[in-house]
């Protein structure tokens, strides 16, 4: 019994790690710009594909061993993915922000960018699924009836590591301070001599590289890639970020793990077709009782 609980807990932590990593990107951009970056799920997908190309290049063309390929793939994928994120910000969002367009029009533009990424991928690479090469040997450990692999542990550990790192960046460094300042007051920040555009670019770099990292880890855990893989997981991660309280890093992290746990538990006890239904109903109930999410602060509206 205890073994089953721990087993499900590990599965939930691993599955939640992906949501948490993607939700962190949503929440960073939202916290700074109050923009729902709907292209983020597709940036995750692009990250997985970039990882696929880098990894196959390293393995097949250069002939590196698996562990070395992994060491090359992780930073390279994160850098390339963050370039995609920054490119979208520069091309699509920044001109709109300069014009002072309504917030929702920027959201629509983000949705459109996501569609372009998805279908651009489909048009360029075709509808065939790609199989991600295995970079490390998956070792299965069994401790007292609980089975886990080294990959699962790596996924959970890296999600926690990323969370600690981001929390440190946002609360302790100068860039993080500038981010919080922009979130607090957009108009006073340029007056203080803070380069707003650079800070926003830094936000997108952080968020997108986390999506890239999630892409690598996801591709290693579930080695089938397809162009639509980012859409559903992206929407769900966004929901997770909101349930945690969007704009708060702890919230995104916790929300991701919560969603992962709910989904794994539903699959463990009910038919798996009910997964979305029950998971979303639970989230709806949470939002009904805490309208600003778990960590969100209720703002008093003044006239």
């Amino acid at each position: 019994m205890l073994a089953t609980i721990i087993q499900n807990l590990i599965n939930a932590l691993q599955w939640g790690s992906f949501y948490a990593l993607i939700a962190l990107g949503y929440t960073l951009v939202y916290g700074v710009l109050t923009l729902i970056n709907f292209a983020h799920g597709d940036i995750f997908m692009v990250g997985a594909y970039i990882a696929f190309f880098v990894a196959t290049f390293c393995l097949a063309t250069i002939g590196l061993p698996g562990w070395a390929a992994l060491i090359v793939t992780i930073p390279l994928t994160m850098i390339l993915t963050s370039m995609v994120g920054v490119a979208i910000e520069r091309i699509a969002y920044r001109p709109l922000r300069r014009k002072g367009a309504h917030r929702l029009y920027v959201v629509i533009t983000a949705l459109m960018c996501g569609l372009i990424l998805e279908h651009g991928n489909l048009a360029l690479l075709g509808a065939s699924r790609k199989a991600f090469p295995s970079l490390i040997n998956e070792q299965v450990f069994t401790v007292g009836g609980v089975t886990f692999t080294n990959l699962k542990i790596a996924v959970i550990a890296s999600a926690i590591l990323v969370f600690v790192l981001l929390q440190w960046i946002v609360t302790k460094t100068r860039v993080g301070m500038a981010m919080r300042a922009i979130a607090y007051d957009k108009f006073a920040v340029p007056l203080m001599g803070i380069p707003m555009d650079n800070i926003i670019v830094a936000t997108f770099i952080l968020g997108s590289s986390m999506a890239g990292l999630a892409g690598i880890l996801f591709a290693m855990s579930y080695p089938i890639l397809e162009p639509y893989m980012g859409a559903l997981i992206g929407w769900k991660a966004f929901i997770a970020a909101v349930v945690g309280g969007i704009g708060d890093i702890r919230g995104a992290f916790l929300g991701g793990f919560l969603l992962g746990a709910v989904e794994i538990l539903v699959v463990a006890f009910f038919p798996s077709t009910l997964r979305d239904l029950i998971a979303f109903t639970v989230l709806l109930v949470i939002l009904a009782f805490r309208p600003t999410g778990l960590f969100g602060i209720a703002k008093t509206t003044k006239i």
Binding site: A123, I239, V242, T292
Partner: protein, 338 residues
């Protein structure tokens, strides 16, 4: 006298022309179906504009309500009027199909309006982007619930609506689907126009401007939000019912978040809080989708790219928040908005 009834005359002659052309089969079935989808898209975009434009909320789960309407009206129609593997012989003599068909579509709309409560009740406390999430979650919940209902086909979909239409055509041979789509489209536009220009609609507008201030000025915001969400989702349900009968087949997958996105694009392309903008952009968008059909998968790169470019040059949508009569003042002689 002429000026006063000019819009009525125009609509009646348009409808008459449509029926005549469809009856004589002067246009191909393809063009006719595109015209019908145009009508459905107009219903969807104007009804979403009621919430997203006039009330200033951000609802992105409109396809979910459409799904409810589509399923309720098609299951009801097939159950009542058609022989079916699941439901057996028709419950009522199929001769009544003609008279009860609009009622079925309206019942579908009513069911969708009840589903709208799923969003309306949390909206008392929740605002802005948190409400957006609730709408997305509602969309997923509805689709996933229908996928799990195996008795009506589950994720395989549900069909048999063509037999209901055949039953109607057996009574009197007329192109019934174009007629009903046209009628319901006009009904939807009329209803929304009356709704937003009524005193009640002023309350909707007040919520858009400032909810707290509206509350203080004794606007019953909860009541207005509930009714507006229900009207909007009910009209979406009507659109969904028509959509199901035009296609003759529904499956939950066709009402996913991509469909909601499509409707949202129509609203924001036309301009928030512009009724004629939504109508025009729905027409424009439907034509665009059909014109670009030969491009196949490239279509979904070209259309978003075009929209991004439109957003860069007109960040408030094609019409902004203006109506057609604000842009062409001579139209004010024929009709007035508000």
């Amino acid at each position: 006298m002429f000026k006063r009834y000019s819009i009525h005359t125009l609509l009646v002659s348009m409808g008459g022309l449509l029926i005549y052309v469809a009856y004589e089969e002067m246009i191909s079935l393809y063009i006719l179906s595109v015209l019908m989808f145009m009508g459905v898209n107009i219903i969807l975009s104007t009804s979403l504009n009621l919430v997203n434009g006039y009330m200033g909320e951000f609802s992105c789960g409109h396809a979910g309500f459409m799904c409810v309407g589509a399923y309720v009206s098609s299951v009801l129609g097939v159950w009542l009027f058609a022989k079916d593997k699941v439901f057996g012989p028709p419950l009522i003599n199929p001769d009544y199909a003609l008279y009860l068909f609009p009622l079925i579509i309206l019942i579908g709309g009513f069911a969708a309006a009840l589903a709208g409560l799923l969003v309306a009740i949390p909206s008392y406390k929740t605002r802005g982007d948190y409400l957006a999430i609730i709408t997305i979650a509602a969309n997923y919940i509805i689709i996933s619930a229908i996928e799990n209902l195996d008795s009506i086909g589950g994720s395989r979909g549900f069909m048999g609506m063509k037999r209901v239409i055949t039953a109607m055509e057996d009574i009197a041979y007329l192109p019934w689907m174009p007629i009903w789509v046209f009628a319901f489209t006009i009904f939807c536009i009329w209803l929304i126009r009356r709704y937003v220009s009524s005193t009640f609609g002023k309350g909707v507008n007040a919520i858009c401007q400032d909810e707290v201030a509206a509350e203080i000025m004794s606007v019953n915001t909860n009541k207005i939000k509930t009714i507006t969400f229900m009207v909007s989702s009910g009209l979406a349900g009507i659109g969904g019912g028509l959509f199901a009968y035009i296609l003759g087949y529904v499956n939950p997958g066709s009402f996913n978040i991509l469909k909601s996105t499509e409707v949202m694009v129509m609203v924001y392309l036309g301009g928030m809080a512009s009724l004629s903008g939504s109508v025009l952009s729905a027409i424009f968008f439907t034509i665009l989708l059909e014109v670009l059909r030969p491009l196949q998968i490239i279509k979904w790169i070209v259309i978003p790219l075009m929209l991004i470019i439109v957003m860069q040059f007109r960040p408030e949508g094609l019409m902004g928040s203006r109506e057609l009569s604000d842009i062409f003042p001579w139209m004010k002689r024929f009709y007035r908005f508000k």
